[in-house]
């Protein structure tokens, strides 16, 4: 193994002294780790599959956060709105508010917070019919439905990032636009005026297999450099897609007439650096990895203060017995050249990257481990300051992968979320919600009613509730 691992969450020390076997030490715990189940106590009877979580932070108020998942309006299927989670105490507690203009639930949602005054921007696929809705809320606590700023049909996976310039928020929504010409569907909807107007920017410059992959992921640095990662699907044979992994860059916040053309590949002199070529991506919309589907895991993160440094993670099938392998690479020259794999994780998905202000990279992932009958979903956060030559690992959750049975796909999410602020990594993931301390090596806080001794969830009357998938917020101190 090429990397030296500093394992905090799972290391067991086992040694023998003569005939006496030394008792294994419990896993060391990293101080300051918090894991909080988002389901509030007033929804203790909830047993839905709250998958695909996402998180947004308010820079203006560290105690304020927004989160989402495939959580339905508790009012039921006739509800005209869908909910969003809100915390006003730094993630210790969460409330559910029905302010999204989507019938009961969304079919996709991400969000991010702008500058001053701080507004929440969301991109959703609205139920029914699944059009894109580009939304804004000036006041997270307002009971009003979020304001609709833009909409259109035939898109997939809106992914929102923001930056602030003066009093104008810039909003970047990566999405797969099926109405884009020539099958070059990788698109970023760019707003330079706080979402008042959006312009669709096509970022694929090469021929595709009819379309790009669903994941189009922007990342923004403080100097307004914008990177976008996407899958350049080149051919499609049955269940496998052959794809390039591509990064484009814009040095002036996509304010020019022909944005995202600042990074050119030396092989063909076209915009879009080919970080990896002809990788094999299994496209499976059925339970394939621990009851989860696979096919479009992609994340990019830029060092906000030093935009030369950028990290990229994606998943493909390597072909040596893995189902799905996460790769992490880095560029230190604005995407011009890239490392080889700094880190690989087999049978893993939902990689999310963030880079702290000290340059430490965080990698959130969810990995299936163990034999088939007793497999587990392990959710981990790795941190590194040296390109993963060494890394600190924290296991946030290790839960059964075979229960509960899936209600729909995605089982835990096509993505999750990792962000950073100050000396903390802050993130969100979804997992089996059995209240068992052994499943959460660094502890867990439930808001909903639980009985830890019997590992049972309880409803408002104290009756047992079936185990399901819940979203979990976490914070982990950045490596000192």
């Amino acid at each position: 193994m090429r990397a030296r691992v500093i394992t905090v969450g799972v290391a067991l020390c086992v040694a023998c002294k003569g005939s006496e076997r030394e008792v294994p030490k419990p896993p060391a715990k990293l101080a300051g780790v918090r894991v909080v189940d988002l389901i509030p106590v007033s929804l203790s009877g909830e047993s839905w599959q709250d998958a695909e979580p996402f998180l947004a932070l308010y820079a203006s108020n560290p105690r304020l956060m927004a989160a989402s998942a495939f959580t339905p309006n508790p009012g039921g299927s006739a509800s005209a709105t869908a909910p969003i989670f809100v915390s006003d105490d730094g993630g210790d507690s969460w409330t559910l508010r029905n302010t999204l203009p989507s019938q009961t639930m969304t079919a996709d949602i991400t969000h991010a917070v702008g500058g001053n005054p701080p507004a929440l921007y969301a991109g959703i696929m609205k139920v029914p019919d699944f059009p894109l809705n580009e939304l804004k809320a000036n006041d997270l606590f307002s009971p009003a439905t979020m304001i609709l700023q833009g909409f259109r049909a035939d898109i997939d996976q809106p992914f929102v990032r923001t930056s602030a310039v003066g009093n104008a928020d810039r909003v970047y929504i990566g999405l797969n636009d099926f109405d884009a010409p020539d099958g070059r569907t990788a698109t970023v909807d760019v707003s330079l005026d706080g979402g008042a107007t959006y312009t669709s920017r096509r970022i694929e410059t090469r021929n595709t297999a009819g379309q790009n992959g669903p994941s189009i992921r922007p990342a923004v640095a403080q100097d307004h450099t914008v990177y976008v990662a996407y899958f350049g699907w080149r051919s499609n044979a049955g269940a496998d897609v052959t794809s390039d992994v591509v990064v484009v860059r814009d040095d002036i916040g996509a304010t020019g007439a022909t944005p995202f053309r600042d990074l050119v590949d030396p092989s063909d002199h076209l915009p879009g650096r080919l970080v990896a070529t002809h990788v094999t991506i299994p496209w499976s919309n059925s339970p394939t990895l621990g009851q989860e589907r696979i096919g479009s895991t992609l994340s990019i993160a830029v060092d906000a203060l030093h935009s030369d440094n950028v990290y990229l993670a994606w998943a493909d099938r390597v072909g040596t017995g893995d189902i799905y392998t996460v790769h992490v690479r880095r560029s230190t020259d604005r995407g011009a050249t890239w490392s080889s794999d700094l880190r690989t994780l087999t049978n893993a998905t939902d990689a999310s990257l963030a880079v702290s202000t000290t340059g430490t990279v965080g990698l959130l992932y969810q990995q299936v481990t163990g034999p088939a009958g007793a497999s587990r979903w392990v959710t981990g956060l790795e941190q590194s300051r040296d390109g993963f030559a060494t890394h600190q690992d924290v296991v946030l959750a290790t839960v059964p992968a075979t229960t509960p049975p899936f209600q729909f796909l995605p089982y835990i999410g096509d993505y999750n979320g990792l962000l950073t602020r100050g000396n903390q990594f802050l993130g969100i993931f979804s997992a089996n919600n059995t209240p068992d301390s052994a499943n959460f090596p660094h502890g867990v806080v439930y808001q909903r009613r639980v009985d830890f001794p019997t590992h049972r969830l309880l409803d408002g009357s104290g009756a047992p509730v079936a185990v399901s998938i819940d979203p979990f917020f976490f914070s982990v101190p950045v490596l000192p």
């Binding site: 509030p40 009961t104 409803d459």
Partner: protein, 277 residues
């Protein structure tokens, strides 16, 4: 919404007579997902920190829960924050049946009032429960009747085959690969009872999404051998309104709403609703 709620509230209070009261109660029930008997304990106050107090907020002690969604933890004795339809409409000490929708769920429950019925004081819980149940039955029947009226065909029958749908390709649109692809399937139903627009012995083709994707989680799925009463709509979703059966081109139908698939025993109820004026 609040103007409408206030109007309903006024309707609920102003019409005499049991039948009319039941109709206005049904209107309240239709808009409500949390219904309870409660006593106002504080005016201009809140029971949860997530809601700012105002002249429209009151705290209500729950005396009995009449209806609520299963996930919601709400029991007798809980204090609920209610945003009233009108400021000043409730005074401390009043007991009433509250018709509400969920608003904020946190350390407690905050709801928005659709309307309330003061009723007799004290409210007789059994009477209120029965009245709400009757109103809910009226609402459900009205909803189902509306679905029946919108349906092109209503049949009781049995699924004899499920097959992948072969949709006529749109000439200018390449096939999209997305995790939200519905993966259309076709169920062939042998009609045993043609309730509307069909006759016994016919075979009809119903398209449904076979995809497990979240976007289609609420849509009924069909399996071979399944029996039921089916409310079928002409296919205006897939872009390919016809299909083939036994070499013949026939209209394709869909049943995408959960109310579109009922039990076989519901055929009697469906027939009764069709006859009902």
């Amino acid at each position: 919404m609040h103007i409408r709620s206030a109007m309903l509230f006024a309707v609920a209070l102003s019409f005499p007579g049991a039948a009319v009261a039941q109709m206005s109660r049904a209107a309240l029930v239709k808009q409500s997902d949390i219904i309870f008997i409660g006593t106002v304990t504080q005016v201009g106050a809140v029971a949860v920190p997530e809601v700012p107090p105002s002249d429209r907020t009151v705290v209500v002690r729950v005396d009995q829960v009449l209806e609520k969604p299963a996930p919601v933890a709400l029991t007798a004795g809980d204090s609920v924050t209610v945003e009233t339809a009108r400021a000043g409409s409730l005074k401390a000490g009043i007991q009433a049946t509250f018709y509400t929708t969920g608003w904020i769920f946190g350390r407690g429950v905050a709801v928005r009032e659709v309307g309330h019925e003061p009723g007799q004081s004290p409210v007789v819980a059994a009477d209120a429960r029965e009245a709400v149940a009757r109103a809910r039955a009226l609402v459900n029947d009205a909803d189902l009747k509306a679905h029946i009226q919108r349906a092109a065909m209503v049949v009781a029958g049995r699924v004899e085959q499920v097959r992948p749908a072969e949709l006529a390709a749109a000439p200018t649109r390449p096939r999209r690969i997305t995790e939200h692809d519905p993966d259309w399937q076709e169920a062939i139903i042998q009609v045993e009872d043609g309730i509307k627009g069909a006759q016994a012995g016919e075979r009809v083709v119903v398209r449904f999404p076979g995809s497990p994707d979240v976007a289609w989680v609420g849509a009924p799925k069909f399996a071979v051998g399944e029996e039921g009463t089916f409310l079928l709509h002409k296919d205006s979703t897939t872009g390919s309104p016809r299909t083939m059966i036994a070499g013949r081109s026939v209209p394709a139908y869909t049943a995408l709403h959960k109310v579109d698939v009922l039990s076989k025993q519901d055929a009697t109820r469906v027939r009764a609703l069709i006859k009902k004026p």
